[in-house]
């Protein structure tokens, strides 16, 4: 099957300025040589701890940040070679839902005005009635009532705001949606509402999702495949069923072990991952996870592992993968 989204060797580094004269004092390799693909209609999760580059990856794919090198092909269009106008036209097919529903809507616009914006920007001509019908249909799609269109963002709860933002992202019927921690600011009961809504929309509209989150249980529940990132690199790509049962990378294993289950167990001995994440300014040579890995050997500190296929159809970047 042909892939819907193809990401090849994508990298970006940022210069960091410091000192009195704000000279460049170092570079951070935020995303390093990342390659993966997503099939049409698939939901792929990206997990990792803070600072692993997952949000940067999302922004690179939508070209909100220019990458240093690599290729992003969405639906046969090479995103990175598009001109400004072409990119604007392309953006209606790819949208993003952001983490913080409290800051994403203009506080001085009603929800109706915010949801009308995408049509205005695309210069889609509507009569007032058509516009109203269009926005109301969007609100209904995310289980809000037309009444909510008259509200300002501060009058809505966190969950309602996140629904409104999902409606905003869906306004121009995109095929591809990037969700950047869409439920991180919500309570668990409301998180479940939003997750169920997204699952319904995915089926109804045949959407393709890239779902970014730090919550591995949530990602493995919602997605078909999971990409595990650490310090800007992909450690493992694994199916959602296998991530808990058969992880191949010691880091994936540590992440799954460190989830606190709600089954009470006071005597539980959590296998602790010692050490802190190395500073991204000063990455170790060899495997970036070597400093915290309990299976580390000499080779790991010398040579950086590359992604190789696993028997289950995933990929893992480890010299000594778990079987």
């Amino acid at each position: 099957m042909k892939n819907f989204l193809e990401v090849e060797n994508l990298s970006v580094s940022f210069g960091v300025r410091g000192g009195l004269l704000l000279r460049q004092v170092g570079t951070i390799q935020a995303v390093n040589n990342v390659s993966f693909s997503v099939a049409k209609g698939e939901a792929v999760g990206v997990v990792g701890e803070s600072g692993c580059g997952k949000s940067t990856l999302a922004r690179l794919i939508l070209r909100l940040i220019e990458p240093s090198s690599g290729r992003v092909v969405l639906n046969d269009t090479d995103i990175l070679t598009l001109s400004k106008q072409e990119l604007r036209a392309q953006r209606r097919h790819m949208q993003m839902v952001f983490q913080d529903p409290f800051s994403v809507m203009d506080p001085r616009y009603t929800i109706f005005e915010s949801l009308s914006e995408p049509f205005k920007i695309r210069q889609i001509k509507h009569t007032a009635d058509e516009r109203l019908a269009k926005v109301n249909a969007l609100l209904e799609m995310v289980d809000l009532s037309p009444m909510h269109g008259h509200s300002y963002p501060h009058q809505l709860s966190g969950g309602q705001k996140q629904r409104a933002d999902i409606a905003r992202a869906l306004a121009l019927s995109p095929e591809f949606l990037i969700l950047d921690e869409p439920t991180a600011a919500l309570d668990v009961s409301v998180q479940a509402q939003v997750i169920n809504l997204l699952a319904d929309l995915r089926k109804q509209l045949n959407l393709t999702f890239l779902f970014i989150s730090h919550d591995l249980s949530l990602v493995s529940y919602f997605c078909d495949r999971v990409i595990v990132m650490y310090l800007g690199r992909i450690m493992e790509i694994v199916s959602a069923e296998d991530v808990g049962a058969r992880p191949h990378h010691p880091y994936t294993k540590a992440l799954t072990d460190n989830i606190f289950s709600t089954v009470p167990n006071k005597e539980s001995q959590i296998p602790i991952l010692e050490g802190e994440v190395p500073s991204p300014f000063n990455l170790p040579s060899g495997c970036v996870f070597a400093s915290r890995c309990n299976k580390v050997q000499t080779l790991c500190r010398e040579q950086s592992p590359v992604l190789t296929a696993t028997p289950e159809g995933g990929e893992v970047a480890c010299h000594y993968p778990l079987s």
Binding site: L216, I259, F260
Partner: protein, 319 residues
């Protein structure tokens, strides 16, 4: 002797000439050496309960009623000076956000010794030694160096350990920790909870753990109190409540957490939102979101009752 017994605790504020009661009728007991988890969603009143015990409720128009029996004292009847000598020495508090609760202009070492110097008559040198020892116990790498650093130079996990050190350094009898690991990554959270547990057992400290994370509660606590909209709705032994929850809210809360290997499409959401303190519904505060609603739920407030050896639930279903 009672260790900690809270009876009918309520906090009242006057906002725009209207009286708002964010928490009311909160009663629970803790034995010495016990770990009690207080769980609930945002706005359920768990942090306010902690602040009321510490005598730290926001003072503007805030009134606390009920009783908080700690050892021989009712904390609510103590003067400010008397409270000052208990706070920090016998009851310590680990605030919610280590990123903002450390003072940015003081070295972290000085912030840790402030507490011991205030409550124990010891020299600065001894205090420093104790501090370095505590930092080493919490596995802070090169304590001597970190001691001299400022909060902005430390990672989130290290800052959290500094705040925990401040809480533990005076050897309190009771420690109240408000979401101590919420801002941290899972691997760091596991590290910190592990160290935390270790120190509590070594020192025999009782812990009141406030969190919205049911996973943390399940792995750390002996007992749990589930809060919803300013009331405790279920209280009892963690093993009993988490394996066989009685209150519809506890049941729903446990069902809406995704877990590894869970079947797709089986996540149960709770409809609606947590109500604000100004508009708590009449009767049972959970009734607009409850799947088992009965007519009396809309008018009568359910009382806590013993439903199965030592598990207390406030629900009309069990009357």
């Amino acid at each position: 002797m009672t260790f900690l017994k809270i009876t009918d605790l309520a906090v009242e504020f006057t906002v725009n000439k209207k009286t708002v009661k964010p928490i009311s009728g909160v009663s629970f007991e803790m034995k010495s050496g016990e770990v009690l988890g207080v769980v609930g969603e945002t706005g359920s009143g768990k942090s306010l309960t902690a602040q009321a015990i510490m005598g730290l409720t926001p003072l503007v128009g805030g009134r606390v009623s009920g009783s908080i029996q700690f050892g021989d004292h009712d904390l609510l009847t103590l003067s400010n000076d008397q409270m000052q000598s208990i706070r920090g020495a016998e009851i310590s508090y680990i605030p919610q956000n280590p990123m903002t609760s450390l003072d940015p202009v003081f070295r972290v070492g000085d912030q840790i010794i402030e507490g011991i110097r205030k409550h124990h008559k010891i020299s600065k040198k001894q205090a420093k030694e104790q501090t370095l020892e505590m930092m080493a116990k919490l596995r802070i790498p090169s304590p001597e160096r970190v001691y001299m650093q400022y909060p902005h130079q430390l990672s989130g996990g290290l800052k959290q350990r500094i705040v925990i050190a401040i809480g533990l350094i005076t050897d309190p009898k009771l420690l109240i920790a408000d979401e101590p690991t919420t801002a941290l990554d899972v691997t760091v959270q596991a590290q910190i909870m592990h160290l935390f547990k270790e120190q509590l057992i070594v020192k025999g400290i009782s812990l009141l753990l406030i969190t919205h994370d049911l996973g943390v509660v399940a792995q750390v606590c002996d007992k749990v109190a589930v809060m919803y909209a300013g009331n405790i709705v279920e209280y009892g032994d963690i093993d009993v409540i988490f394996s066989n929850p009685k209150h519809p809210y506890t049941q729903a809360l446990l069902a809406c957490i995704p877990s590894m290997g869970m079947e797709k499409g089986s996540l149960a959401a709770i409809s609606g939102n947590v109500p604000n303190a100004g508009n708590y519904p009449l009767g049972c505060r959970f009734h607009p979101r409850c799947p088992h609603i009965k007519p009396q739920c809309k008018t009568e407030v359910p009382l806590m009752q013993d439903v199965s050896n030592g598990t207390w639930t406030a629900c009309h279903k069990y009357e």
